[in-house]
Each structure stands twice: as C-alpha cells, then as structure tokens.
Amino acid sequence: MDFSSNIPALSPWEPGMLSLAVYSVMVLGLLGLILILTAWLGEKKKTPEKLRPYECGIIPTGLARLRYPVPFYLVATFFLIFDVEAAFIFTWAIAFRPLGWAGWLQISFFIIVLLVSLFYLWKKGGLDWGPVTRITPPRQETSS
C-alpha cells in the first residue's frame, strides 16, 4: 500500500512518519485507557484517618514542611567552588613547562586567593557543622 500520495506535505520520509504517528496515538491511547481504568476501577474510600500522614500509628505533630538547615546548602556550594577550581589547577599543571614562571606566578596568586577565601569562611563558621551540644535542663513540671 502506498500512503505517500496522501501525505506529501509531511516530509520526504513519509512512510516512517506515518508509523511514528500511529505509534504515538496508540501509546497515548493505551496510557489514557490505563489511567482512566485505574481511576475508575480503583477503590477510593477517603476517610479522615486514611488521609492522615502515617507515622507509626500516632497522630503526627506539626508539619513536615520545615526550613531545612543551611549547612546542607553551604556544603554543596563550597564543594562546587573548590571543585571547579581544581579544574583550573589541573589544566595549568598539564601546561606547566610552556607557561613558565609567568604561569606559575599567576596560578600561585589564584591559589592564594582561594586559601584566603577558605580561611575567611572557616572564620565565619561556614565549616562548623555537627552535633550542637545543648544542655537540656530538667523539666520544670511539678509533681502535683
């Protein structure tokens, strides 16, 4: 069967285009059928208990949408900064002889600036990350 006369505008590659179109329609149709069938056949009894978050059988306290501690992002940022700079240093090391003393001076300046920034964020407390020792005072409830 020759479909090429029916769809001249699509491309010079008509038969393949047609099968792709048929395939896409079938995929979308099957996906739609599965989604509609499961939505229709699935048992959906929404009770307050079922919609409550599961937490070991206890009613949860508060929300799980919290401000996440900053150190996670800080560490990610520091890694990016110091990791990318390794790329500069490796490329300089490969071209060590052609670049000569001028190159050495430049990379030394680069490394010194890096070190200064490292000490700066060390001093600012950016690397302080670990258990926070908190002395817990005894509970002040009375015995009565």
């Binding site: 229709w40 056949l41 048992e43 009894k45 009770t47 208990e49 079922k50 409550r52 599961y54 937490e55 070991c56 059988g57 206890i58 009613i59 949860p60 306290t61 508060g62 799980a64 919290l66 401000r67 996440y68 501690p69 150190p71 996670f72 258990p131 926070v132 908190r134 817990t136 005894p138 509970r139 409830e141 015995s143 009565s144």
Partner: protein, 468 residues
C-alpha cells in the same frame, strides 16, 4: 478455627459477572500483602511462618509491608493492650480497601489469659475480624490454615459489582464490630455456667475470705544467718542512726532493715557513699499495698521497698519504709540515684504514692489519662469487671501528642517524629519521640507501657501454675 462468613448476595443469572468475580478473587487470594505488624509473642510464630520451613510464599502472601498504605491483610498477632488499641485501629483504617483481618492467638481473640485491666478482651470489639486462629500461641501451621481459610472466604466474595460501581456485591472485611453483651459475650465462664461464681472471686483482692491458707501445711520459709560483715554493717547502722534503722530478723534472703521515712535519704546516702562496702547501685524500688493483710493492725498502709547492691563484695541489702494514709507521700531519691526516676514514676503510676521533689512525676506505664492506680488492692482486678473497651474508646483515648513530650526551643526548624509504637524496630512495644534538626537528633523522650500485661496485679488471684 472459625470464620464467620457473611451471607454474600450472589448475583444469580449473571454468568458474566460471576466469571469476573472468579478471576478477581483468584488473583486476590494469591497476592495478599500482610502488614508487618506484631504486638506480642504470637509474632514470633508469625515470623516463623515466613521462614523457609513453613514458606509463606507458597500462598502468595510473603510480601510483608512496612506501611499500612501497601498492605491489605492485618494479622493481629498478640495481646491488644488498651494503650496500643488506638494505634491498631488507626493502622487498620489507614490500609486501603479491600482489606481483611486475621486475629491470631487467644489474646487477640478474646483477651486470653490476660483478663486484666490493661488488655482489650478481643480485638473484634474495635475492628472487624474475618478469621480467628486459636492457640497460645498458634503454631505457624495454624496460622497458615487461617490464611487458607481467609483465601476460601475471599473466593466467596462478589467484588465485580462494587469494582464496576454497580449496586450489591461484597469485598473485603464486612463483619460488624462486635458489641459486648449484644453480639459477643466477655463472660469467661462460657455458656451454661451462669449459676457459678465468677472465677476466683472468693480468693481475690480485696476480700480473701474463706482463704484456705491457714488450714494448709506449708513448708517453713527459708532462713539465713547473717554473715559477720553483714552483722558489722547492721551494728554500724544502729550506731549511726539509732532507732531510725531497725534490723528485720529473721530474713530469708538478704539483710533487711526498716527505716523511718524521715531519715531514709540520709541512710541511703550513707550506704551509697560511706558504708563499708559501699552500696553503689539501686537495684530496685517498689511498693506493697498492705491493706489486705490478714492481720492489718501489724502492717502500715503501704510499704516502700529499696534494694541495694554492692559491687565491691557482691552484697545485697533491703530497706523498707512504712507509709500511712490513702494518699501517701515519700521523698524522692533521684538526687542520690538518677536511676530512681522511672522507678518512682512506676510506683506513682501503680500505687498512687507521690514523691516529693521528683523532677517529672507522671505515669510511666498506663496512659496519661488513665484513672486509678492498678496495683492497689481496691482496683478492679479484671478487665471483665470493667466496662468493655469499644471502638469509640479506641478513637477517643489517643496517645499523647509528641509535642507535649518534647520542647521546641528552635521553633519551627525542628521536625518532631514518632518512632513507634508500630515500627519495624519497636514492633508495638514502645514509642520514641525525637526532635530532628536536619539529620541531628536534638531531643528524645520515650513512652512505654504499650505492652503491659499487668501480671503483677493478675497473679495474686491465680493458682501458681496459672500465673503467666
């Protein structure tokens, strides 16, 4: 082994629907996903059922799920305590439909031998049960048979109609929750024994009338002679504290002293820090309700008992303190032994004895809103003597919110999380409440008593061989 089958409304004449029923039921019965859930010792047998010797996989039910969201079979394996019953009901309700319930073991079926204040007398009072597996505990084979019975029940369901949104049909657990006195009977005497007295009433607290103990010969109690160092210690105590410390003689296991409540802390501090040898460890702290003694005039209302241990010479010591009145008070010893904290909370919980100066005197075992002190002799000793625990109770008496246990100095940046009672690591026994800042635990508290069978209170009313 029993299964209460619902009268399923067959759809006569509908050949097509019944064939789809067959297909769906056949698929469901070989793909049951049990919740990984255990309350007590029965779970050991349930876990054994998973192992290669019994091989639950033969029945298609080996995929134990950690979350109720993915499970459709709840096997109540073990004693359902009143403190954990709200959790059990929540787990059941958080499972998606259709779902089924197997009640495993005597405790879960009817309370079993734990006819005691802390135990629900049958889980069918709070949620529907499809299959009961008797035994204490049932063997893994018995549970397998229960599973097969459930599969047979599933084959009799008509799920096609509800699935296709037609009227009629049935699927999942549709048994009604049983109501005591209406659809179930908690009376342990069984049918036809209405004329007999309830078991053990003649010899259980607080009556003890017609006790045969005076007529019976019993072997004389064991007596020990105090060794020389023990006699020296007794002399030292007498020399130092005078009449406040009186030696109790004879004794059957270890040197015992009766101490005045006023000088108790002084004596304990002396024994811990100055005595030879030093009794560094507080072994135990408990109390006795003396109100049902046969000669009550010889006894106080309550007795506090302290057991001490010396590491240096492996020596034990017992101190007793008399307490008087119905709301007795004693001084806390948490400043001498921090380990006394939970002991004193337990004594307060069980006997209602208050400890002056205790940093945090609240119930240890029973729920925070429990009424009464179970180890007092006046307390109702049997669950069947109390009002039945119902589904409404399981919705009402919720465990206390974790935010009350933990303080949140960091405000909203900390996540409060419950680990347990239903958790793979705690399996229904205890509940940890943690405060999380990022991945760091900043505060933790613990709630126990989810597995409290009240054996102490139950035992005096039972013959020796019946004591659990």
């Amino acid at each position: 082994m029993g299964s209460r089958h619902q009268n399923h409304t067959a759809s006569p004449g509908n050949f097509f629907l019944s064939k789809i029923d067959l297909l769906i039921n056949w698929s469901r019965k070989y793909s049951l996903w049990p919740l990984f859930f255990g309350l007590s010792c029965c779970f050991i047998e349930e876990a054994t059922m998973l192992t290669s010797r019994y091989d639950l996989a033969r029945f298609g039910a080996e995929v134990m799920r950690g979350s109720p969201r993915q499970a459709d079979l709840l096997i109540i394996s073990g004693t359902v305590f009143k403190k954990v019953a709200p959790v059990v009901l929540r787990l059941y309700e958080q499972m998606p439909e259709p779902k089924w319930v197997i009640s495993m073991g005597s405790c879960s079926n009817c309370g079993g031998m734990y006819d005691v204040y802390s135990v629900v007398q049958g889980v069918d009072q709070i949620l529907p049960v499809d299959v009961y597996v008797p035994g204490c505990p049932p063997r893994p084979e018995a549970l397998l048979q229960g599973l097969v019975l459930l599969q047979e029940k599933i084959m009799k369901e008509n799920p096609t109609r509800p699935i296709l949104h037609f009227d009629g049909g049935s699927q999942g657990s549709v048994q009604p929750v049983l109501v005591d006195g209406v659809t179930k009977e908690r009376d342990a005497r069984g049918p036809g024994f209405d004329g007999t007295p309830l078991r053990g009433t003649a010899v259980t607290p607080p009556g003890f009338w017609e006790s045969r103990s005076e007529l019976m010969w019993t072997p004389p109690p064991r007596r020990i002679e105090l060794t020389e160092p023990e006699q020296t210690l007794a002399q030292t105590l007498t020399a130092r504290f005078g009449e406040a410390v009186r030696q109790e003689a004879p004794t059957s296991d270890m040197p015992a002293f009766k101490v005045d409540a006023a000088s108790l802390k002084e004596v304990l501090r002396f024994l811990k820090t100055e005595a030879q040898p030093k009794f560094r460890r507080l072994e135990d702290l408990t109390a006795i309700d003396e109100s049902t003694r046969q000669q009550p005039d010889n006894f106080p209302d309550f007795t506090l008992v302290y057991h001490l241990l010396s590491y240096d010479e492996a020596r034990r010591l017992r101190l007793k303190v008399d307490l008087h009145g119905q709301e007795p008070e004693a001084e806390t010893i948490t400043d001498i032994w921090p380990a006394a904290n939970w002991y004193e909370r337990e004594v307060f919980d069980m006997f209602g004895i208050r400890f002056q100066g205790h940093p945090d005197l609240r119930r240890l075992i029973m729920p925070y809103d429990w009424e009464g002190h179970p180890l007092r002799k006046t307390y109702p000793d049997r669950a069947t003597a109390m009002a039945p625990y119902t589904e409404a109770d399981a919705r009402r008496y919720q465990p206390l919110d974790a935010g009350i246990y933990l303080r949140r100095p960091e405000g909203d940046e900390e996540l409060i999380l419950n680990v347990g009672p239903h958790h793979l690591s705690t399996h229904g026994l205890m509940r940890f409440m943690v405060s999380l800042r990022g991945e760091e635990i900043t505060d933790i508290d613990m709630d126990i008593g989810y597995h409290h069978r009240g054996v102490n209170q139950q035992s005096p009313g039972l013959l020796c061989h019946l004591r659990p």
